[in-house]
Symmetry: D2
Subunit: 353 residues, 4 copies
């Protein structure tokens, strides 16, 4: 960044999709970043963004973005940092091409999450995994990934438990919002006054991604955490906000108050660095018997906080509790933006700007 008053130009890959729209909405008036490029499939390329998009978020398309020409997702984009909301069917190759061409790619797609030297990053949890970037094969470019939307809330909730008490087992059943499936995603006829006990690929992500995120940087990438996890995923008629019923077995027995204190005292690099999108308090614990709830608490701290409630002893594990995260903010676009803010604060973006 040549001048401090100049924002870093960024591009959005998959800009017309659901995650892409959320990137655009959250980056309006961002203090570090300014969306200058919107890229999408060839079908959209050449149109103005307003013509190409079926905007389905509350509120209007930001004025500056409406008239941007949609470009293809290739190295013609005039920026060095791109946020990717691409569909997994195309993200793998596109993101790799851009990284090879010198772009820094912060991706919400699953394709590169398990590449050995690609951080699977939750800034509050494993900021140190950015070290991996030094070993990435791309010369100037880099790929950083954001975990799956339901993984993020789960991992933020158990990180303080892991640090303070150790974890033996983790069980989770999800009640997930439909925005996680993109647009059009789940048909109204499928989900209205209904629930669906299946989300393709989701359980596998919840059972594996935490092991990398909570692992240690080793010689050949991340040494995975050893932690047996079982996940069952359900879709429910909620727009935004994934609610999880969680159970944990701890290595060291802990009192209820200790567990709650571990959440309330939890802070990470984003809080220490006062990053613009960082929630002041990453975890909010509620004593109310019926909290947290998606519609009431998903927008806490602009959708970047995790809400927890109902901590109680469990006849099978040590504790059970409920966790809520805004799946398209903290769990997708907002989480990815926080990754980029962390990278800027750590000087990782300075090489290219």
């Amino acid at each position: 960044m040549k001048k401090t008053n100049q924002k870093i130009p960024v591009g959005i890959l998959g800009a017309t999709g659901s995650v892409g729209q959320k990137f655009i909405q959250l980056l309006e008036d961002h203090p570090y970043f300014e969306v200058r490029e919107v890229a999408a499939s060839e079908r959209s390329a050449g149109k103005t963004y307003a013509d190409a998009v079926h905007w389905f978020l509350p509120g209007k398309i930001p004025e500056k973005i409406r008239r941007l020409k949609v470009k293809p997702c290739d190295p013609s984009l005039k920026c060095r940092l791109v946020f990717s909301g691409l569909d997994a069917s195309v993200a793998g190759e596109v993101e790799e091409n851009l990284a090879r061409a010198g772009y820094i790619v912060v991706s919400n797609s699953k394709n590169h999450r398990f590449d050995p030297y690609v951080p699977l990053l939750i800034p509050e949890v494993n900021a140190d995994h950015l070290e991996l970037l030094n070993k990435q094969e791309y010369t100037a470019g880099k790929i950083v990934t954001n975990p799956n939307c339901s993984t993020i809330g789960l991992v933020m909730a158990i990180k303080p438990l892991l640090d303070n008490f150790g974890l033996n087992q983790l069980n989770v059943v999800t009640l997930q919002a439909i925005s996680g499936a993109g647009f059009p995603g789940v048909a109204g006829l499928s989900i209205l006054e209904n629930a669906i006990p299946h989300i393709a690929g989701e359980e596998q992500k919840l059972e594996t991604e935490p092991l990398k995120i909570l692992g240690q940087v080793g010689e050949k990438g991340i040494d995975l955490l050893h932690l047996p996890i079982s996940a069952q995923c359900n879709r429910i008629p909620v727009i935004d906000g994934h609610l999880l019923s969680v159970q944990v077995s701890l290595k060291r027995k802990a009192k209820r108050e200790e567990v709650i204190a571990s959440w309330q005292q939890f802070r990470g690099e984003p809080q220490r660095l006062k990053l613009p999108s960082a929630p002041g308090l990453p975890i909010h614990y509620f004593e109310e018997a019926d909290y947290p709830q998606p519609r009431l608490h998903r927008n806490l701290e602009n959708g970047m906080a995790v809400s927890i409630g109902r901590l109680r002893e469990c006849p099978l594990f040590d504790y059970k509790f409920s966790v809520l995260t805004h799946n398209t903010v903290r769990g997708a676009a907002g989480g990815a933006i926080l990754c980029a803010e962390l990278m800027k604060a750590k000087g990782i973006l300075s090489a290219i700007f």
Copy 2:
């Protein structure tokens, strides 16, 4: 019953409430029973049923019932068999008074479920518990209870596993419909586009009722099954149909096909006796990846069947799967009616008719 072509007159306690309405709807044209008395709180007593009730079920109030006078819930009711959909705040005393006065009470309320000699009955599961009635303190009258709406589906699903493979542990997370809370029950403002991770008293019922239902008749009532159970209960915006994410550890390891076969081959007394409300197949197993679903499968076999799907191995337990039951039919009024049908078939009603 003096003549075979004469139906047994029955009364409904709490007839204007949500369970009461369902009793009335399900008993329209019942081959054994005919609703002759509707009883409710003093506020309603004296009015016609049509005037007293805020009918909220699909369809119309049965014509014969509209003009019945609502009576108080006391021994003036001209029938010997009553179905109780009373609120727990009053059910305890009312039901006891009626039993003392010689009525047979089949109750959906929780108050007497753990009385030592009161059967907590699921006809397919523990028909033999009717033996307890011999030891009940009431002279002519009797009390039989129906389990909690989410317990019923759970216990029907695990009964074949218990019988065939034995059970070590049981974990369940529920996604429950709002009709379980009665009317007006859950406010629209609370549940629309939302989920609530709490249902008062529900987890405790799920963790204890199965132990009695699956227990053995002993000297002093039921010897409880030993089975550690953990339950977490959530309310979701569905009208009818409780969906459960279940995990089990078996005593004897079983193959996936064996587990499914145990469900498909499961039959109970209602099937052997061909009771009018009995589902032909008590458990339907679905191979489709995203079944069962509340809106699609709750009405299978007139709402009396349990639907199961997604059986798969579990990293923490042996198996995990999803279970669905219609909470106000099989899980409440329909289940209670099946109990009464079983009692009739077993000659238990003959003493009084």
Copy 3:
């Protein structure tokens, strides 16, 4: 029909779509008709029905239909009567080809509704329009059409008013269920906790179709009724059941009781002929202040009745009231089946069977 105990074999065009599924569900155990052929696009042709369909209706696919091979929509179908739930993009040509090839096509698609000699039929309203068939250009084959799903309820509600009092003006605002848009149709993200004030093409249908249905058979087809109609259409988060807010100006002033009596006394050919799908009472008038409601009343008379309520004087027109119809039963597949039943009763099918 050669023998009385033999059912007429029928085929379903567009059998895997939403209307097609409803045809199959409603024709299970039909006394006149038996589904022997299921036809769909080339993509599905050759598969079994169970493999080709994404079944989204409550309940299971009828056993006999599961294993039927899906065929293309052409004259190779081994039946002479077909029900069409084809998409309008293909229905026009396909239906015409089949009619030319000697099939009787009862169609739910819009394409031929305004062909001069094609009846736009509501059996209770304009059974006499079947006369038009004599002038149809096809030799053995015929095309009969079913009106749009929201038109049917509206026209049934105003037909008694037109007959008894005459109509000067008609105003209607709709609150329509999402099943009217087929599957996947309206995205969950679009409609959950929302309403959409637009349904493509719907207002134009509501403003024109009644004029043909209520017109008179003339020399060159139907002489349209003269009646200015204005329609505004909204989509709401309801699965089934279109609710209409209607206003009418009458030619002859009528008392409230006369209007209600005209609805209650209304009967048509299906009632006189006791057709199997005919509702005993085509119109149910409710005095309750907040009836009719989609979830409570859409299934009255197996979804074939129209429900009306809230008749009251209007400051601008003479009367206003609310009308409810099940849009996929009476308003689509059920309505079309009733048309075929009428044709059978009138001997129109005898030529070919």
Copy 4:
């Protein structure tokens, strides 16, 4: 107000109710007003606000308010300006008592809306009606009322039409959100996957309130506008945002572009005075075919703007179009706050502060 840096202390009547909660939420960090008193029924009086309220709005109770002691709604409140969200069953007398005791009452309740010298105020529409206050019978105190939640959007939409083209007739059908009924209000079992064609008293408000709001200040209060209005009201499963299907007959024929321009150019006193809660643009017209929609547009301009779309010619009236307003912000608490801001700007509050 003695010092410019001091905020005006205000009280909330009915502070624990749904409108009361919204007042508290919207007044957090308000530049003019600071909530110092929360008043409610005797049942709540004496408790802290956090203990007395069942908070059901998204987000948390503002910290400063949590610990306020709830007081009775009487002249012991230490403030001179009160916002009333009281239920109509008690508002009449309470508000009158407070006005007599010298309080300025800005009320969202219906009780005093038609008192001759009480303004029924929409600041953009009839700011001049504040003149009426000079004739109010109370010495120091005053009562100002906010119209019904669905009236406000309707009147803002037709005011530019009235001013520019004159109005002969107005027809409206509403699709109203459930938050308009307060908490608990509409039962989940009543409204989920349903619509209800009736809202008690609502149609009468829509047919009469606009006549006063759009009337002229005369000798004995407001000379009502002459305008025949017909309203039909429906409740739908939406949390916030009333959607209206409107039809108008104009006195002077106008082109479509003229009508749209009249909306886009509409400004009122709040815009001229740059009141803190005033929307920059009071009316947003959308050209998109399916806008406005409750979930997408209710929060435009912090919920204070009215959204209009789908203007098209009407076969019965001149034009038809759709209008959307946030019913608890612009249509209730936010609208009342804007009234108070207008009063401050006009010097009406200076007498008492």
